[in-house]
């Protein structure tokens, strides 16, 4: 559920097919740099209506982002 939403937002941003975005996909492979990852995270905050603090988390893969969002939604 979270993965689907995340994949959809990423796909819209970089104009690709959402089904190609998997948990293990690295942002770097998608041509998304580390600041763009935060831009994505901030759109997720609006999408999920919650503030998501990084608290030192490193976001390298889609799974890292999904995990962080899940931890805040619980």
């Amino acid at each position: 559920m979270v993965l689907e939403k995340v994949a959809k937002i990423i796909a819209e941003r970089i104009d690709c097919d959402a089904s190609t975005i998997q948990n293990e996909t690295k942002f770097e492979e998608l041509g998304i740099d580390s600041l763009e990852v935060i831009e994505l995270l901030m759109s997720m905050e609006e999408e999920f209506g919650t503030e998501i603090e990084l608290e030192g988390t490193k976001l390298t893969t889609v799974a890292d982002l999904v995990q962080l969002i899940k931890s805040k939604l619980q």
């Binding site: 600041l35 935060i38 831009e39 990084l54």
Partner: protein
């Protein structure tokens, strides 16, 4: 009683460093730096100290203000990259100007210019007449020039303003919220025989992702807050003058706030991030280019190490 801005001044070192120049010793390239940070050139000191730059900016601001140096009754400066812990840059400027007012520095990193204005407002409330405020940085002193993530961002320079008792500092918001691990600039460690820790390298260390998120939220919160509190619409504001930290921060804040990019005054492409000097340099450029008319409303918004952020509503 608060104050009005009487005059502005700035100074940058003679030495211009392009992105291409950096590729000679760093694994980086012009496209990456421009896309990632928005910097094209920066001025990097070869010989000028932060106090030298502060003095030049101060002289220009005093000349622009039309008052004489000895009418100034307080000099407040801010820097995180000066050559000396003591004397303060403000004291060095006072000596170079040959005047006898009180002078001291504050440390609020990249948010410092708004902290300077807020501090000055307190002194105006105590009856001071003319205050010189200066942000001066020789950031090149405190960078690890082998770290391509930080060294490409910053530049050296100074900006100053002469303030006089008046009513144009309309409102402000100041926040400090912890986060020493997000932006950390360790100081020089002496040779204490009793020291038991591990000395940290005295260079700018920054968590780029955390800083980016903090900065965008800081600008967005402060601007919304000041507009709402003062019953203002965005179209009543002539310019937002943000701390020039990274073009991407400004772009993202503009998107988040749904405020057109043209409202934000941006000059990071030319100077890089000059920390405490970025807002007064921007103000001086705008002033001398004739972009500001008396009565124009400006929002100055600054954020950085602390973590801290501070913004104000200023009538020109």
């Amino acid at each position: 009683m608060s104050f009005s801005v009487l005059g502005t001044g700035m100074y940058v070192p003679a030495n211009v460093v392009t992105n291409h120049d950096l590729t000679k010793f760093l694994d980086t390239n012009d496209e990456w730096i421009q896309q990632r940070v928005g910097v094209v050139t920066r001025y990097i000191s070869e010989t000028e100290t932060a106090a030298d730059m502060a003095y030049e900016a101060a002289k220009a601001a005093i000349e622009n203000s039309g008052i004489s140096a000895n009418q100034i009754d307080l000099i407040l400066a801010a820097s995180i990259s000066g050559e000396r812990v003591s004397p303060a840059i403000a004291c060095e400027v006072q000596e170079l100007l040959g005047i006898s007012c009180i002078a001291f520095d504050i440390n609020a990193a990249c948010s410092a210019f708004v902290f300077l204005l807020e501090t000055a407002a307190g002194f105006f409330a105590r009856g001071y007449r003319n205050i010189l405020v200066i942000g001066a940085e020789r950031m090149s002193r405190i960078l690890d020039w082998q770290d391509r993530n930080t060294s490409v961002i910053f530049g050296d320079g100074a900006g100053a303003a002469v303030l006089t008792a008046g009513k144009n500092y309309l409102d402000s918001t100041v926040t400090v919220r912890g986060g020493h691990d997000v932006i950390n600039i360790p100081n020089f460690m002496g040779n204490s025989p009793f020291f038991k820790g591990v000395p940290e390298a005295p260079y700018v260390q920054m968590n780029g992702q955390e800083t980016f998120k903090f900065a965008v939220n800081a600008i967005s919160q402060d601007i919304k807050h000041l507009l709402q509190k003062n019953n203002l619409e965005m179209d009543q504001i002539k310019y937002i003058v943000p701390h020039q930290a990274n073009k991407r921060i400004i772009d993202m804040a503009s998107m988040k706030l749904k405020i057109p990019a043209e409202k934000f005054y941006v000059n990071i492409q030319k100077y890089g991030n000059t920390s405490a000097a970025s807002i007064p340099i921007a103000l001086d450029e705008m002033n001398r280019q004739g972009l500001l008319q008396r009565g124009d409303l400006l929002l100055l918004t600054a954020f950085g190490g602390g973590l801290a952020h501070a913004s104000c509503l200023l009538r020109w």
